[in-house]
Symmetry: C2
Subunit: 354 residues, 2 copies
Amino acid sequence: MTLYPVVMAGGSGTRFWPLSRRARPKQFLALATRKPLVVETVARLGRLAAPGRTYVVCGPAHARGIRRLLPRLPAANVLVEPVARNTAPAIGLATLEIQARDPDAILAVLPSDHHVADVAGFQRVLRRAAEVARAGPLVTIGIRPTRPETGYGYIQLGEPIDETAYRVKAFVEKPDAPTAAHYLASGDYLWNGGIFVFTARAMRAAIDRHLPELGKVLAALESTVGTRRHAAALKRLFPRAPAVSIDYGVMEKARDIAVVPGDFGWSDVGSFAALPEVRPADAAGNVVVGEGAILVDSTGCVVVGSGRPLGVVGLREMVVVDAADAVLVVPRDRSQDVRAVVQALRTRGFRKFE
Amino acid sequence: MTLYPVVMAGGSGTRFWPLSRRARPKQFLALATRKPLVVETVARLGRLAAPGRTYVVCGPAHARGIRRLLPRLPAANVLVEPVARNTAPAIGLATLEIQARDPDAILAVLPSDHHVADVAGFQRVLRRAAEVARAGPLVTIGIRPTRPETGYGYIQLGEPIDETAYRVKAFVEKPDAPTAAHYLASGDYLWNGGIFVFTARAMRAAIDRHLPELGKVLAALESTVGTRRHAAALKRLFPRAPAVSIDYGVMEKARDIAVVPGDFGWSDVGSFAALPEVRPADAAGNVVVGEGAILVDSTGCVVVGSGRPLGVVGLREMVVVDAADAVLVVPRDRSQDVRAVVQALRTRGFRKFE
């Protein structure tokens, strides 16, 4: 059985505005290294999967950009969702396509916009998850928590399957602070990092059972895969799929779910405030990206320059982003509220800057 | 006797970087209204003096800009200092030029980069100062303090001359906070706003007495005024003048000094933090200038936009300035420290952005 990575690049978040835009979402940004996150995501696979077996799912607005960033991937491996329908239909579509090519395929679904510091560790865990998936269960990789994070969903460990894998007792929603502290202390809860490994066969069966509407869409598409009729059928049928996440639609409902814990320096790079997780800071705790920043007596700041002078004087724990055609200033602990600015741009009709 | 305003536009401060630059100092900026401060300064004179009697002193780099901003002034009324030598030589030069035209002239020296809210009140006080000056003393206008400001020099009131004028007991340096509080409470101290009124004759005599080196330069230039030899003589002789302020070089030493107190909504617009003194704030206490700013849950901020989106989220008492080709972020109470950024630009060789 062979591993087929599926990189989920359909995201269109606003938390990195003004670096991210409608036409250039987070996975296109070089936030952690000098390369875009989606490029690092594919590079991170190393020898786990050749480019010919690696797939990306994205929206129509980003397909050309993805193909340009990943020239070694066959163009046909960039699967284009006609409309965004959350992760379950995207994963269903990839499962269908890959199953038509290899009925015994094992898929590894990977977010396109996260960072991993320990690549060898990541590959080890992914390989292990594929071995577990071979026996039938849907497998998720659980990240060992390093802090009482309230921004992530958690996976509660159940009975051990072997030395490296467990049954999943429950997927749990984002906790409040005391609950998150309890999760961290107990050792029984892992972060849900959105990495899933499964046989195509098991996923199709799980979709048919828990998301029958999506199952019908996939069944109707099945005969068109690889034919000239596929594009038109996809355009017609895919929008009928329910917009639901794989977590909520399948993983939380299926019974045969396993988890392989991992500890490989993972970050979801969730906002500008998270850049210190993935970028080195200077002696004053400032993370400076790009060119032009001039920091004077500032500490704990995240500063992104665009080349022209960007004077930052006397700031504490502040995010300052110069994106050449737009600027953002926000305290680190409020950097998620950037959305309000994007909302205001929309209200004012400044579509170009969204 | 006729009043000749002399607007001092030789300043080259850095406190409004990145709006102000070497080639575009503060007096060129529209900080208080939609017009540059120097244009407002001349407009504020109203019927006190026709454009033909109004003079501006500035440096060679700014003469063309000043003439463009003040097209109604005769070009010859823009007096160009070959080099900057602080205010005493600049005032000496203006005195010389105007005296050659009108030996009985009264001059009113005015900073080019301050703001006045009550223009009628200002004109009343200036007219009164000119009447006092006619009798011979050098007259300064003292601003009634409204807060215990430690950033200004003060003028201590002496014996009254009449209902509106006093002898000056002393010019005093910028005080510390307790002293400033005492000055404010006593009612005997006024802010030195850099506005001086005097007969040309009295100023020449005061310069000859207290700044004899400058007196010699002026005497040597005197015969060239209005001739073709003037420009060359100025270039040769002016640099020999001592670089000293009129306050330190003349006013603090002369004996016959009067002060007319004034209360006309004066501000020296000393830094971005001072903009709320001269611009209306929104309900949350933010002063927003220019276009493009999007404020979300921010209070007490000074935000200058340049047209493109400038997102400001969750900030308190912060200065954010987008000058199109450079950006500044600094807490309001540290906005004077902008100088450190300009210093850093100089060190890095970014002369263009100074």
